[in-house]
Symmetry: C2
Subunit: 339 residues, 2 copies
DNA sequence: ATGAAAGCGCTAACAC
DNA sequence: GTGTTAGCGCTTTCAT
């Protein structure tokens, strides 16, 4: 395993100074055509490519943007696909990063501090818990923390989406509808809960606090919460989950408890991650355009980086909200007559 | 947008030298308890986190591993999920990287040169076209280029998998079965083709060169190839695609041409990416444990990095092959009597 | 116990 | 047209 070849190796091999090699690589002028050609040739032969790190350290631009995530799960990887697509054709590289302790709050600030300035020119933060502007580089947040912020933001119409999902259940005839909330710190979760409550009230149904649980967007937590709800004297005939992953937890619990979906229990999720089509039964869900979310976030970021950031499509701090839609699959049906 | 806070800022604020701050951060001893506490406090207050880049430049270890991909598509993002899961619990960070010109061959060497040594301690290369050992850091390849190599490798049993898929079609009664090959440079593609041919021969069917196309694992290329095959005087009643993405291209073409799947044409894919369950009709496919591929690759890499690399589970250059399985969904059926 | 200084690979001023 | 020098943020001897 040979050592990485450095600019010094190239310089020595070519019999010129390091500076000259640097100039050739970066296409600076003031180099004799012959020298340039020769150096170029040595570069090829040695397979040299300049270190992103050393380069970023010296110049201020690295020409790389980061997507910072707490974890690589279905939502963040969809974002990645969209971000990648939006970056294709530009000469920016894409760096997705997740460090160890994403459990602790404030991961996004620590990650940003580790990478910004020297590695990436800007970042997309996926479901950050904190969005403070002390970034050092331009930042765009996807599905961010609740509360105001100077940071440009991209999200879906969570309120309307939730209402779509719950109205679907109401339309099927359900009246006892449970809700599995997401991460308390995220605005999306709060809005989905608000949409759930609103849709019920609009339909003349009084929300029952006993049917409202928090599952943190996690499958195992959803499993537990579902078990608790189903043990109620008057259990729900349907549950609306704040995301697909927790909806899968509901399916797990129902399967274990011998509760048939959708016969005994209807389930609606949120997100429409690719995995949702292959659950048993396939999940009815509220679709977010997740890849679009990622693509838009990258475009906003690119605006911030290159185009002055002014006068582009929209002058405001940049806040884009994408529409949602209902995808009906096999996990919902009319409730059985309780007789 | 404030500047990133550096170690110098902390040192100044705390009234000590940079060296002292560095020692405190890295838990080196030889620091008065009081000083350490004070510095620690300033670190917290300023939200300082040392730059991955500067740190990696000086010390040789960065405690980050890279997953280098040509593009963020369904296969590579599944690898990422598996890699992330395998890394959870360790104190390694995960860096997924894709630069611009992945079109040109040799992207993996260039990416490696950009990142190795200073940013990542080791790398997982996803479907690399070239695997030469001139890396500078330990490398593990997933689904690599054909040919021998000193590099440890992880892949699926592509030969057996292909035979599984084709035998399924044969069992349904198909005899004219087309094949859409993948990237010529990948071993997986060659083996899937070999499995296709072998299964046909085993069943006494002579492979027809007119039914053998290359689609590069790409959806648009698959579309074209399918159109060509279906225009044949004696078109196939079934097509086996070397991956799911090209199988989707077949579905596209069939839809456009008014050919019904599976009534007029059966389709089998390879991979079982999450997206395959939600095509119309849902795709019958040969499942690879893609996340496992990623997880195993990371474990191999970690062995190389930490545990001497000797005596671990298997001393050989490290070559792991995972089993495949058939997932039957809606895109396959018995051929209609041509009568 | 603490600080000064060198150096990781590279680029940008500035000299020659 | 090319080389010398300084310095990006950090860790690590080596003095003090």
């Amino acid at each position: 395993m040979r050592r990485r070849v450095t600019i010094t190796d190239v310089a020595q091999e070519a019999g010129v100074s390091v500076a000259t090699v640097s100039k050739v690589i970066n296409g600076r002028d003031g180099i004799a055509a012959g020298t340039a050609a020769h150096v170029q040739q040595v570069v090829e032969r040695l397979g040299y490519e300049s270190s992103l790190v050393a380069r970023g350290m010296r110049s201020q631009r690295t020409h790389a943007v980061g997507v910072l995530v707490a974890e690589f799960e279905p939502f963040s990887t969809e974002i990645l696909k969209g971000a990648g697509a939006a970056l294709a054709g530009t000469d920016y590289a894409l760096l997705a990063y997740t460090g160890g302790g994403a459990g602790r709050a404030g991961w996004e600030r620590r990650y940003l501090s580790r990478l910004s300035g020297t590695l990436i020119d800007g970042a997309v933060l996926v479901t950050p818990t904190v969005v403070d502007p002390v970034a050092g580089v331009p930042v765009v947040a996807v599905d961010p923390h609740a509360g105001p912020g100077a940071t440009p933001t991209v999200d879906s119409d969570n309120l309307e989406g939730a209402m779509l999902g719950v109205r679907h259940l109401l339309g099927l005839g359900h009246r006892r509808i449970g809700f599995l909330g997401g991460r308390r710190d995220l605005e999306s979760s709060a809005l989905r809960e608000a949409g759930y409550v609103q849709a019920l009230i609009d339909a003349g149904v009084t929300p029952d606090p006993a049917l409202l649980h928090v599952a943190e967007y996690r499958r195992d937590a959803a499993y537990e919460a579902t078990a608790a709800m189903l043990a109620l004297p008057d259990p729900p005939t349907a549950v609306f989950a704040a995301n697909d992953v927790s909806a899968m937890g509901i399916l797990d619990a129902a399967g274990r408890l011998g509760v048939r979906v959708p016969d005994d229990l209807s389930v609606v999720g949120f997100d429409d991650i690719p995995e949702s089509a292959s659950t048993t039964p396939p999940l009815t869900t509220v679709r977010q355009e997740i890849q679009q979310l990622g693509a838009v976030a990258v475009r906003l970021l690119l605006d911030l980086l290159d185009g002055s950031g002014v006068g582009a499509a929209g002058d405001a701090p940049g806040h884009v909200r994408l529409p949602t839609s209902l995808v009906v699959r096999g996990s919902t049906a009319a409730p059985r007559r309780t007789a």
